[in-house]
Symmetry: D2
Subunit: 384 residues, 4 copies
């Protein structure tokens, strides 16, 4: 049971949101996903730094106007003062990168559990501070590296970490998109605007936006952190102040080596996150755009294609699906798996390992980005 | 605005459910999907013919115990007597086939909109009666031939009905599953039990369970009804009283001819619904297990692979997606698209054509099944 | 060793060709394939009914002009009179269908082994006569149902006939092309001309051209003949005197049932031969356009994708590949596998079963076509 | 016409082979491919450094024993003294890497055209010497970077170099195999033995064996040489003296940047050569194991899948196929395309550009390898 605060009449945990106002993409995703498994109910929000816009979104969502706030400080202050059986249990932070640290820190200080979008912050120092705050508290903290929520990613992780592929030698990971091939930010497209603006995105562009997902996937699947890396960052679109393309060679602490590509100028590629892992006894390949197929290679028999819902999958994998085999679940369901696990954690349910990415995973991502910047600048190998 | 009854504080329509108690599969699907787009809120239910089980499910869902009923007649009677600003707007019927007609008829008589699982009933006569009731009312009626909710099925329909493929000549459709290759119903598996029981499933087995989806997909995509058919039905698993395998040749009213395969004994196939359509100028292919790829063939250029979220898709197609290109949506999202459209229809929103399958589509499915049974028995071509 | 006639200095068997003059497609294929494995050398030919064209082709091929003949009767007569160490061992008949029977019969009578294109003849009676002639002789006769030469088709056959899939229940086979979607024969295209001309093609069009391949594939893989069938034949392109589209339901002698589609009006489809077989314990799927992938389904584990060249394949399968795994072999190599086996048979090498399609397989194809015509006309089930 | 020497009676050019004795893999490939299009006839050979083995292979191939030689020097000396209408036109060198330079040099000096396997030599100096020799002569020299012979690689090249994809930004190439995941060379497997032996393979292992193919493919498709690179080479299998895994970042002279992976320890991967190119207006992807599909991405419309044999392909592409669309050609046909073009060049036929890889392409490969070694040693960017 949730300590110190009862749930809603329907047993749901109460969520407040920071960000996700008009025109937002990821805010709407979070709202669908937090509700999908009846784990959470959105009851409060500071949806925009513009109070008028915040109210508009709150109204569209049917929220009690009294709990639609003009700023996140206001929300956190006032919610903290509500009685335990009314106030929110957790906040979901879905703002541009530069507005992650502030609300996350305050939320923790006020005693709220936190879901925070990635990259965790815009500096390693901020991320380290959050990690310390979490460690001191009894609070749950989830960074939405959402691709870890796919059943077949979990199956991959179980194959690797269960030793089925033998000692891991090679990891190839890539995240290729094409949507920033032109100067989309000059057209007023909001998603492009803040992602290419150093003030809001931080000192990295595409490597922070999608490269951290790729790096996180490597560490999640292998269970090993990046030990050193060599990075090249580049900006292809004239006048764009941040990188839109990166290439990274890396070594993992377990001894494996690998390559990471993250680019937003690959025309025609939609959301091409792919990981391949090869060990001394077997290998695997997974692509986000066909997320229900996991190809597994073996030394002495034909490759197999594992798909969700089948009885022979790892027990942990089977916890991540809602419908029978052949009924494809996708991006939203994988994302919702993180919220579901986060909710269970708040309630104190014992769970499968690493059911959602932790503040430490988020910090690892920030260290990865710092190392990329340093390596790209110095032309040398760097330890994160 | 919804006539005669206000929505919930959050603007949602109120839904009551018939069926979907412990162990049900499709009931849980309906619950996720009705809530996904904040269109509906489940507030009442008669979840099982066993009142105790109904209460258990209601409690798990956090419903007001006063609105968890022991029978669907009780639910419909008592909800109808609630004030307009409290009573349900619609019912969702997710029971085995033999309990579709009763609650659907009563719901319509009581003035409730209806969502009903497929096949619509267990006889053509019942389906015709429902069609008449709907015609006399101003009520919305949705039969959950859910595969029509996929964006790429909608794109296929727009390609065909917009004439881009020319006069349609050939339609190949199939729905292959393997889960009933053995006598699963003998193990106590609930889904298998009722689907292979003539009392609950009606006079057809697999052809009703999945063949009607295939037939509906043909009619939805081509916009043409089946004009005549030649069917072979067979039972492969000893002791099973209903067909688990069927083969159908058919002619459409538009002159096209085609083949339909529906089998539940194809070992290893999960949920293999596939449709291919060829006209005088082009063709297309779509598979449910990779639902975000639509292959389009042309006479004078290379085939293309259309995927959701891209700007060049048909305007109607673009209404059916929640996230950007490359973020795969699946079975639940497609299913939710029907609920979303159903909700909009209740509110009187003008919408894209055939945004959800109608009672007439459900009736067409029942006539298809009747014709299959007759043809298989007589060994001759039959008009539905 | 070859009885009664020595081979060439390089140990090759001597081949004469009937047909394959200017503009021919399949003649050139045969020439590449007979030479690929150094089994045969083309030394003689009657390449066209036009002696001038025959000489032109012979000259282009660098043949001794003395062995380029004006007619196939002349070739067979004169070659038969050459000494054993010079005359041809075998003939390859690559003419339109109506010129299969004559040269095949005469060749057998003169003591030559025969390779003959499909369909074997233009009537069942002719095919039966050839079968009798072969039975009386010690000669080898190969009908080039070339798709049986693919390694993964052989693997499929071994899986089925080795009982690994259990009792076979369902067979789905299709052969979809689009090249005759318009009246190509009116443009002077030679391949289209004779295939749509009843005088040269015989009483069936597409069903003979490609449907027999599909039927042969079913019988080859399952090892069971078609026991009865129900066929619909149709002509979509106005003014074409033969069928360009067919649909067949069938039952095999082993009890399995299936569907066969053969169409040449599926715009954009190139050469879409596909077979899927499902038994009580497993299933398989193979597509000619990606011929090196064989998907195998199992009841209790993930599907696997078998590919040529790997050690774990069936021993017979491994005889059909020339290069290591991952080096794709295709249509020509599969075709050449038939010639290789035919050559080994002439030399008396003991071989894998059914290494090439026999005259009886060709006769079975003719009976299949006769049954299709009768069923389509009468609207009833017919035994071939 | 071929200068100074007539062809065979059948119009074929006469070929002598160096290497390709018992147990060889690539020699047999060359023999099939040189004969496939009736361009060449193998008439002489020095198949092994063991004269007895050379005779054995010559006998199996049915060659005149007088033209089966004990050493390649003997072959080249004695063939050069034969009359013009009998002696070979060209030699095909299919030995391990350390026996490329010697026979290639002597063949050029004796006036023979040369086909030579890759990598061209075992040092840059040798390759430069060969380039100079070729420049001084009128002889043709083909290095069998055979993957350039695929029709869809040619289509890719035409798309890029025709400017259809805009300014090229990114190139991702990889060549992943798994066959050397264990110490196969310790089992006596010949292919593994020489490839992992510095005396026969030269100073690089896998990067020379397959990495040069990948580098060549980049340069062939883009028409731009590698300008600088950063490489990491590694040996995973204990006791193996050469690299079995490499990762390279590179910049092209045209400004594009890219990543190259070449590994022979990716368990389960057969022959995974893949290239992807992205420009400012479009992109493409090609995989050797499905060589007949070329995916082309566009900014403003759906991706297309181009396949051989279709009328809308580039004129050059259409010269590289033998059979109609949907009849897959593979590795051997692509390899034969190089021989076909080489033969045409000898005859003086004007041809499509870069119809086969030149000695300069081979030299570029050697410089690539030298740079990889230097970069891997020094940990810095190196210009080839």
């Amino acid at each position: 049971m949730v300590s110190g605060s009862t749930t809603t009449p329907s047993g749901k945990l109460r969520m407040g949101m920071v960000g996700g106002g008009p025109g937002a993409f990821i805010g709407a995703v979070h709202r669908i996903c937090l509700a999908m498994d009846r784990e959470f109910e959105l009851v409060a929000g500071a949806f925009s730094s513009d109070a008028q816009k915040s109210r508009q979104t709150g109204s569209e969502l049917g929220l009690d106007p009294a709990r639609v706030y003009g700023t996140w400080t206001e929300m956190l202050d006032r919610e903290a003062k509500l009685p335990a059986d009314r106030r929110i249990h957790a906040v979901s932070i879905v703002t541009p990168n530069h507005v992650h640290f502030g609300p996350a820190k305050l939320a923790l200080e006020k005693g709220f559990h936190v879901v925070c979008d990635k990259p965790l912050t815009i500096s390693v120092e901020e991320a380290e501070e959050l990690e310390k705050l979490v460690a001191k508290s009894k609070l749950q903290f989830c960074v939405t590296h959402n691709y870890t929520g796919y059943p077949m990613v979990r199956e991959a992780r179980n194959l690797v970490q269960g030793g089925h592929l033998g000692e891991i030698r090679k990891v190839y990971v890539e995240y290729l998109q094409g949507w920033l091939s032109d100067k989309l930010e000059a057209t007023g497209q909001k998603q492009a605007e803040w992602r290419t603006d150093p003030k809001r995105s931080g000192p990295v562009g595409g490597m922070g936006d999608i490269g951290t997902h790729a790096a996180n996937l490597v560490e999640h699947v292998t269970g090993s952190r990046i030990d050193s890396l060599f990075a090249v960052l580049k900006t292809w679109v004239a006048g764009r102040p941040l990188d839109d393309d990166g290439m990274v060679l890396f070594k993992l602490k377990n001894g494996a080596t690998g390559m990471l590509a993250a680019s937003q100028v690959c025309v025609g590629r939609e959301n091409g996150l792919m990981i391949r892992v090869f060990g001394a006894k077997g290998g695997l390949a997974w692509q986000q755009e066909q997320p229900n197929d996991l190809t597994v290679y073996w030394k002495d028999r034909a490759p197999e294609v594992r798909r969700p819902g089948n009885g022979w999958l790892h027990t942990d994998t089977k916890t991540l699906q809602r419908v029978p085999p052949g009924h494809p679940e996708g991006y939203l369901e994988a994302f919702a798996n993180l919220y579901h696990a986060f909710g269970r954690a708040i309630r104190g349910t014992k769970d499968i390992p690493d059911a959602f990415p932790s503040v430490s995973d988020g910090l690892s991502g920030m260290r990865f980005l710092r190392a990329c910047l340093k390596s790209a600048k110095e032309g040398s190998w760097v330890a994160p």
